[in-house]
Symmetry: C2
Subunit: 436 residues, 2 copies
């Protein structure tokens, strides 16, 4: 089954599997122990640290392992915030960071500035400059966005940050080759590069004041060894694969926009990681779409609110101000077969049309200028709006009552996509004027 | 090589290895995802949770997995302390808890009462009763001590705790069969029962107010599945193995006391887990002893201060008031060969004698009533004291100047073992009267 959700986590790379098996023999003991088994484990740990440092572009003694990518972010942020307590408690994050960064920011007792992004998902360098203060302890900016693939201007932001350390979450890019320059603290997650789940990496440049609160070194040796082996292997293939996979996601971007009606392809078409492409389909329910694609054999992810694993639309799509309805993220793994991508593009239009038919999105216009969608979930409010607009003369204003959180994003997005005028919202009442 | 450090962590159980390999195929995806791979992973996760709940004696929905045993303790303690914030901020721990519990207690902002232990390592039930207050949010008590094997009176302490939740760290006993009754929160670590490193388990009884701060469920599926499979396997063997291994540790207790001169076997001879036996040897340096045993092929652990992985003597030995010098913990794994234990007992007296000879512990008495051991590390101050005592008439007081932390424990212990009188200490000056 074609697995197009590599950005969530990939199956174990064959090299990682091999390394895992080998180190189950030699690396099960506590590397802090003095006896033979402990010393063997220590040797393996040191070698893994060297390999990861090499991939991250830093010294081995700047690297530590954690129990997950999320944990790497938590330890990294907490360590710098604590270490630089004297400077102050101000924290800067972008509004499209991974939830691990945003959750830490929420918990952080000090002041937090969230830097907004543009419609393509990138922050402005000037916005970081303006956010900086004398008491800024830490700034965070991902290398590439995990939902839409957009690369952030890391080097430029690092430049304006000056002495303020920049924590760069490189979860989506470490496996693809070079991470952008300029970071002070770098985090990553092994399952994103074909390593085992449950291994994170954290690098802290010498010179950064860092006071971690961790009690003990994370030392799940077999998993660490497998993670390091896999990172080395995928990076060896990365240069060639990046070009090929980038061409495939470019093909998806272009074709989806052409063959699926009422679709918005999001994210930066140029400055992006090779493997990710994201689009949203009007009048489609994300959960049903995922199920139908699963039935066709494709595993993808969604940032729609109407999937069982989320209650609100993706904060990334929200920050970008783009449609979240019927959202699909395709993230291709290295080694993906071109034929699978072609088959995906072949079945997608039919799948989307099928879901729309089920939801009655294509039926006749209805009469009335007030649509009561209270208590109804995405994409129903937008479907009912579309039907009502069809039933009124050009120039008429239709009011939609909708309390689903997604409506705030999707009704303006619908207007922009269909060329109608978004008049505004008051509470749960949205006003739209028919233009065409 | 006979591995006698099972209490630190065992090699992967063959059943765990098999389960790990199988679930690398079917369990690598995120169990929160809607597609086929995610659903497969969810099924595996649910089955593992059922198996662990069965072993812990609770309901599956009371069990959660964490990235280590230490993490299970951290999440468990923080969750109850936060959940019962309204009751108050008072915390009770025993003085011989695992460092994960004591570190959390140190960090905890509220008041902490440490309950002392007796010379055998067990707390008194009355001491817990006295420690309880109206604002006590949580009490912690291990099921069995990790360094000396002594079982704690968990059921009795739970009884006096009443409505105050009792967190029981069962890291050392979960693999051996039944944990004592009475816990509200139970923690364990998979590497102690032949599961992979990097998996902890935490059970919280329904009804306990619990407010964890964790962002995400720990879902390293292959490791969790392996941990559950291994737990089931070792517990199936536990009843028979417990009797056999207990007989072997009893043999070590008896024989060491008989064949090694100047030795103290510590911990409760009756109320204890089957696999652990601990003793301390006068006039021996822990690190050298470990190295010599390693050369003979035996991997053991030590709570002495004079090993490279610790700077102070074990807090457990300290709390018990027993000798820490030349400390050795033997922790036998299930399936241990009787012949290996016999060989250990055969080589041990020669190894201890050899280390003593190297340190010059057996040479002639020296003259003088003041011994200057400032700046010298354990076991040198005690060796110099023994020599000086040999050189003075009975009734004379010898003063030892020693600034090694271990002296505070080991000089009184030496007096008790040799039948001399410990007069007392002022700062770094210890006074001992020759009695025999």
């Amino acid at each position: 089954m074609p697995f197009f959700d590599a950005a969530s986590g990939s199956p174990l790379h064959p090299v990682a599997r091999q390394a895992l098996l080998a180190s189950l023999e030699d690396g099960w003991a506590d590397p802090g122990k003095l006896y033979r088994e402990g010393r063997k484990a220590r040797v393996l740990l040191d070698a893994a640290r060297e390999a990861v440092a090499d991939a991250m572009g830093c010294r081995a003694d700047e690297v530590r392992f954690t129990s997950s990518g999320t944990r790497a972010v938590q330890v990294g942020m907490a360590g710098v915030l604590e270490g630089r307590r004297r400077v102050g408690g101000h924290l800067i994050v972008s509004s499209v960071e991974h939830s691990s960064v945003l959750h830490m920011a929420e918990r952080w007792g000090g002041e937090v500035t969230q830097v907004p992004v543009g419609r393509l998902g990138a922050v402005g360098v000037e916005a970081y400059r303006e956010a900086l203060r004398a008491d800024t302890a830490l700034a965070c900016l991902q290398d590439a966005n995990h939902e839409v693939g957009t690369l952030q201007p890391v080097a430029e932001v690092a430049e304006v940050c000056g002495d303020v350390p920049l924590l760069v979450d490189a979860a989506q890019s470490l496996g693809w080759g070079a991470v952008q320059e300029g970071w002070s603290v770098l985090t990553g997650s092994a399952r994103k590069w074909g390593g085992p789940a449950g291994v994170g990496v954290l690098a802290v440049r010498k010179g950064v004041r860092f006071a971690p609160r961790e009690d003990e070194e994370f030392a799940n040796l077999p998993a660490i060894v497998a993670a390091a082996a896999s990172l080395r292997a995928v990076r060896a293939e990365a240069a060639a694969e990046a070009v090929r996979v980038r061409e495939l996601t470019a093909r998806i971007r272009e074709r989806v926009a052409r063959v699926v009606p009422d679709v918005e392809v999001v994210g930066d078409p140029e400055r992006r990681v090779p493997g990710i492409v994201t689009f949203s389909c009007l009048y489609v329910d994300g959960e049903t779409l995922l199920h139908e694609l699963d039935r066709e054999g494709f595993a993808v992810s969604s940032g729609s609110s109407c999937t069982s694993d989320t209650l609100t639309p993706s904060h990334v799509l929200k920050a970008m101000g783009v449609l979240s309805e019927g959202n699909v993220r395709v993230s291709l793994p290295t080694g993906v077969a071109e034929a699978d991508v072609e088959r995906f593009l072949d079945v997608l239009p039919g799948v989307v049309a099928g879901v729309r038919e089920k939801l009655g999105a294509e039926v006749a216009p209805v009469q009335g200028t007030v649509v009561d969608s209270l208590g109804k979930r995405c994409p129903i409010p937008v479907i009912e709006l579309a039907k009502a607009i069809k039933g009124v003369p050009v120039g008429t204003v239709v009011t939609v009552l909708a309390d689903d959180e997604a409506a705030r994003l999707d009704i303006p997005a619908w207007c922009e996509m269909t060329g109608n005028e978004y008049v505004g919202a008051e509470g749960t009442a949205y006003q739209v004027r028919r233009v065409r």
